[in-house]
Symmetry: C2
Subunit: 131 residues, 2 copies
Amino acid sequence: VIPSDYASLLERPLYGHLGTIRPDDTVQVNPMWFEYSTTSSGEHLRFTHTIKRAKFRNLQHNPAMSLSIIDPDNQFRYLELRGKLVDVEPDPTGAFYVRLGRRYGNAKQQPPPDSADRVVLVMRIEKSTKQ
Amino acid sequence: VIPSDYASLLERPLYGHLGTIRPDDTVQVNPMWFEYSTTSSGEHLRFTHTIKRAKFRNLQHNPAMSLSIIDPDNQFRYLELRGKLVDVEPDPTGAFYVRLGRRYGNAKQQPPPDSADRVVLVMRIEKSTKQ
């Protein structure tokens, strides 16, 4: 799904802007940390989130997700990844949050205060658009 | 609507990530140039677009729009602006495209090849979320 010449955008600790759809059919977009993986079961993005926030409720209503990533070295170059939520994994110790925090440059990242509510949102990537 | 300590994010030529909803109830997000204005008729964002692209069709179906902007000096700081399409202004000479191109750093910006199809999408800002 991912064009090979854009793969580095997923390896680098860039912020993606994740869109989801609210129950009232309006759209929510905000910056997110992410982790990309490709395995025999497909290509996925993982995000840290909590079960108490709007995006979680949005995704219970409509699993559609889209992530937009811009190349900081050439702002005309970007990647949009579309797909849907396929799994929600509990992260009660905040271990995945810590892994992402370290990926994004904080070597001493500690678990967040809301670890008890933390989950990993797993998005399967179905399509990509590049420019 | 805009928190005053976040206004500079709208004055600077930053890319915003604009979310719209496709007719099949999935979400589209991609980077956009924008121009912010505040007048007695409200606060608006203007984007250059064409009548031949997906986002235009999305907005005919559902006028909801949301723009996410990250502070490049502090990536934990961001602004999300929500609202809807309230007007579409023809831009057949590409004059608005040229104005935005100059705002984003290309002093010699020329009109684009698809000027005949160019429009200005006018979004009224109804809510903002900051972090």
